[in-house]
Amino acid sequence: MLEVEGLTKRFGEVLALDGCSFVVPEGRIVGFLGPNGAGKTTTMRCVFGLARPDGGSLRWRGREIGEAERRRFGYMPEERGLYPRMRVREQIVYFAELSGLSSSAAGAAADRWLGRLGLADRASSRVEELSHGNQQRVQLAAAIAHGPELVVLDEPFSGLDPLGVEALAGLLAELAGDGVAVLFSSHQLDLVEDVCEDVVIVDHGRVVLSGEVERLRSASSRRILRVTVDGTPWVPRIPGVTEVPREEGRPRILVDASVDLGGLLALAGEAGRVTQFSFEPPSLSDLFIEAVTGGDRG
């Protein structure tokens, strides 16, 4: 289990991390979510010793994270980094060896991942000759080929098409199935809605919400409804009901606990023929908004 506890980091005037705490258990996929500048990348860089926290502690399986621990981690930074003129397989082997694999084990792992990621025929191409998407795959292989116990990916889904998102999500699930602790960050909460089991939502360097997604959803006091009358979205102008503009432009409404749903349905019936009247589980964005506004946003 990765334990991040009370992490603080200041860059000049900016407080990037303000007592950030969360855990990533083995075998779980944890989405590290929040808007740009919330401190996600800084936290990840601290885990890998690329930035030094001003305070707080970082532990893996109960031990302070040091060099030995980091060799058993895999990291894919947001700014992708590969040697452009090095050949694909060589590069994956090199990084795996740096993480402590013997050259034969590194070679076998590279071949396995190249096959798994559909890059087997590009093994001896230079990285610079590959398409952007394939370069990302190589980057991923370089991060996980050495069989790490913890995989940390910074914005792995950004720039991927829906198919790519699905493929990567499947791969992460596979890793978690093998007992790997997976932490990935994203600023696009909608994109990773279905990917993560657990979320840690940060804002301004502090964790505002964390836990299992399903539990967070059911614990949410926010009632979100989708109501259509005569096939078009319906938003009543009454106190306690607000529009939540989102999701493919189809409006939904947020209904305060004080509003009687029976009365609301009756009101909709007066407006016309009710074609849809359904509860929606709160999305990650809803949860995020609820968390940062303290749940009092109407």
């Binding site: 590969l82 040697y83 370089a142």
Partner: protein, 394 residues
Amino acid sequence: MTSLATIRLVARREVVQRARSRAFKISTAIVVLVAVALIVVPSFVSGGRPTSTVGVVGGASSELASSLVAVGKAQDRTVEVSAYPDEAAAERALRAGAVDVVLVPDRAQLVWKAERDPVVAALVTEAVQAIERGRTIAEIGLTPEQAAALLRPPGLSSRSLEPVGKEEEGRIALATIVVILLFASISVFGGFLVSGVIEEKANRVVEVLLSRVRPDELLAGKVLGMGVVGLAQILVVAVAVLGALVAVGTADLPQTTPGMVGWVLLWFVVGYGFYSVVFATSGSLASRQEDAQSVSVPVTMLSLVAYFVSLGTISDPSGTLARVCSFLPPTAPFVMVARQARGGVSVWEVAVSVAVMAASTYGLVKLAGRIYEGAILRIGPRVRLREAWRSARR
């Protein structure tokens, strides 16, 4: 995994990638060609002997011609004789530079284009005298044995306290070549290091690397790997040079030449060790290849100053400047190797100089290593030395 194993991995990548690059192959080929040409070409051009051409008015008798050639040979000089029908024709040839001197036997006179060349004058005088002597001996009626006894040279051998003339010129040339070769190699591989370090920053590979290895391991591996490639290149050149020496013979080369092959290898290791750390650290200050030049200005200036000082000391290898500079870090590799090419440097001097360099390189590694650590993860504009120094503080 140990630090050494990590350093070896980083170094190996450096060696493999660099040795495979076209720039490396081409630069090696050029250096080999130039080094071999410097040895082979002179021995072809003149055979190592100066040549003088003597024009003789009124046609040269075969007796005079062979006497001129014989005397020339005795003085290690090739003499060519041209005959002219009259003085006017001979003078035209003299003005045109076809002959060095014109001999007018009727008037027993030497005609020069401008300045009299005492060596050539003595040579022609001796040749004419030899013929006169032969005639006189024949007139007196001496037996051939008597004549031989009379004309036998005294057979003096000679030795010099210091290398003189050709040998000294040769050693000056050798020292110059060696210093240039050393400076060029250190600069080229230092430059490779700068761009290699910047490449890792520019591509952000450095983040992936440093999530697995320590900055000092990365720095050590890169410096070491590039050093191995540099040493390999110099070895290739050394082998080519030795081959060329064997092929053309060392007779015309200064006596210090064969030993210099080994000394250049030593001084490359020592000099590269010192400068490479500064080159690599300079590279860590920049995030874009465009800044490579400006961040390496200080180290380039340092090596240039050392280079010019060493060129300046070649003519006076035992002067105070040369002696002092052959023990001081920035200049020692270049100045000491130049002094060795000139000859007369004792082994203990070399040992002391190497020890001083090793000690200062160790100190430099500590200093530069910290700057490298502080700067390598700072992507963006050029990192100031002070910022780098501060942010490396743990």
